[in-house]
Symmetry: C2
Subunit: 247 residues, 2 copies
C-alpha cells in the first residue's frame, strides 16, 4: 500500500472500542505517530509468558519482533553516532553504542516512556528474568514501528523519542572507560606491581605494528595488538581486565 | 540532493582517468549500481594497515565504515529472515543469521565477489589478522553503499548480491544445531552417562515454567529455563556444552 494512502486511512482509523482507543492513543503518544496496524503493537506488548492462550496453536509473543527491533535499534544508533562523531574511531563509537543499547538503559527508557503499563506478561516470569521484560518490549515496539511505518519513520522514532529524549551523549563520553588508566588504578589499590612492555614491532615500509604485554608482579598477562604503542597497550589492558574479571 | 538528481548525474559521472574508471566499473559490477561518490568506496577498500599516509594527520581507514556496515548487514539479514520464516522462533532466526554474518562466511563472499582485488592493505598486517581483512572490507563496502545510495538500494545490494547469490538458506537450516542431540552424541562418544531432569515447574494459571538440569555421570551440570520442557532442556544442553567447551 502506498505510504500516502496509509497516512490518509490512518486519519480515520481510530478504533471504536474504548479499550482499543486507549491503546491506540498510548501508542500514538509513545511513538509520535498514528499506528496503522494496531495488532502489531499488541503483539509487541505480549511477553512470551503471556503467550500460551493463542487459539492457532502457534506461540504468539513479542520474541520475533524483539529480534527484529534489536537489530534495527543497533543499526540506527550506529548510524546516529557515525554521523554525530565524524572524527571518532570505531572503538569509541562501539563503546558509546553499548552504553545506549544495553539492557539496563533500555529498561530505564522503557519505563520512562510508559511501556511498562502496556506490557502483558505473566507474574511468575518476573522471578526468572525480572529486568529484561521492559527492554525486550521496547525492542519489540521498534520492530512493530518498522513493520507498520517503514524505515524512515522508525529511524525518526528512535532518534527523537529514544536517543535524543533519554540520553545525553556528551555525558556518555565522559564515562567511557580508559582501559589503561583503569588497570593502573586497580594495581595501585591492590598494591600490585604493574608494567607495560612492548614486545615486538613489525616494521615494513612506513607501517609499524606493535605487540604489548602487561606484567603484574612480574608475571606475564595478556598481549595486545595495535598500529600504535598506545593502542597495543589499551588492547592488552582491556583483555587483561577481562581475564582477571575486574569490572 | 534528491535521489532522481543523483541518478541523473551519475549517468555522466564516469571518471575520466583510466585508474578511476577501472575502479568505478569494478564497484558497479560488485554492487549492481553506479557509484555516485567514488571516494567513499575508495575509503571502504582501505584497510587500517594502509592508512598511515593520510595528509590530514587523521587516520583514514575503513574502520568506521566497517562499524556502520556491520550493523546494517546485521539488520538487513535479520529482516530478511524475519519475513522469510514467518513461523520460526527467534532462536532459530538468530542462529541462521550468525551462520550468514560470521567472519568466515563474509571472507568467502568477499573473495567470491572480487573485493580482495580492490583492497589496499599492508602486507605485514596479514600476519596479525590474515582472515578478517576481506570480511571487514565487505562490511565497509556495505557502509559505503548505504551512505552513497541510501537504505533501500543498500538493502537490495545485500539481499540480491550477498544473501541470495551466496547463501542457500535451506542448506543453512539443515546445519542448524540441536543442542540436546549434540550433547547426547557427545556423551555416547565419550562413554559418559547423561541424564536430563526437570527440577521445578512454576505453575500459575495456565502458564508453566520449567527448569531443567543436566547430569553427567551423576554430577549436576548447568540449568536451563523455558516455558516448555523441551526448551528448558535445550537451554540446559546449550549452557552445558558451552561450559564444557564442546563445540
Amino acid at each position: 500500500m502506498p505510504y500516502f494512502l496509509k497516512i490518509f486511512i490512518s486519519l480515520f482509523n481510530v478504533p471504536t472500542k474504548k479499550e482499543d482507543r486507549d491503546f491506540y492513543k498510548a501508542i500514538k503518544v509513545i511513538t509520535g505517530r498514528r499506528p496503522f496496524n494496531l495488532s502489531l503493537y499488541r503483539l509487541a506488548m505480549k511477553h512470551s509468558s503471556a503467550a500460551y492462550t493463542s487459539t492457532r496453536g502457534l506461540k504468539e509473543s513479542n520474541e520475533r519482533l524483539e529480534y527484529l527491533g534489536d537489530s534495527i535499534l543497533g543499526m540506527i544508533v550506529a548510524e546516529f553516532l557515525f554521523t554525530r562523531f565524524p572524527f571518532k574511531e570505531e572503538g569509541f563509537l562501539t563503546e558509546i553504542r553499548s552504553k545506549i543499547v544495553n539492557r539496563e538503559s533500555l529498561n530505564e527508557v522503557s519505563k520512562k516512556i510508559g511501556i511498562n503499563d502496556l506490557i502483558q506478561f505473566h507474574q511468575a516470569s518476573k522471578s526468572l528474568s525480572p529486568k529484561s521484560i521492559y527492554g525486550d518490549s521496547l525492542e519489540a515496539l521498534i520492530g512493530a514501528v518498522y513493520l507498520d511505518k517503514g524505515f524512515a519513520p522508525c529511524r525518526q522514532f528512535i532518534v527523537k523519542k529514544i536517543i535524543n529524549a533519554h540520553f545525553d551523549v556528551e555525558d556518555l563520553i565522559h564515562t567511557i572507560t580508559n582501559h589503561k588508566s583503569r588497570i593502573i588504578e586497580w594495581a595501585q589499590k591492590e598494591n600490585r606491581e604493574l608494567a607495560f612492555e612492548i614486545l615486538e614491532i613489525n616494521q615494513e615500509n612506513k607501517n609499524k605494528q606493535f605487540v604489548a604485554q602487561i606484567f603484574i608482579d612480574g608475571a606475564g598477562q595478556e598481549k595486545g595488538y595495535g598500529f600504535s604503542k598506545k593502542k597495543a597497550e589499551q588492547d592488552a589492558a582491556r583483555t587483561t581486565l577481562e581475564k582477571l574479571g575486574i569490572s
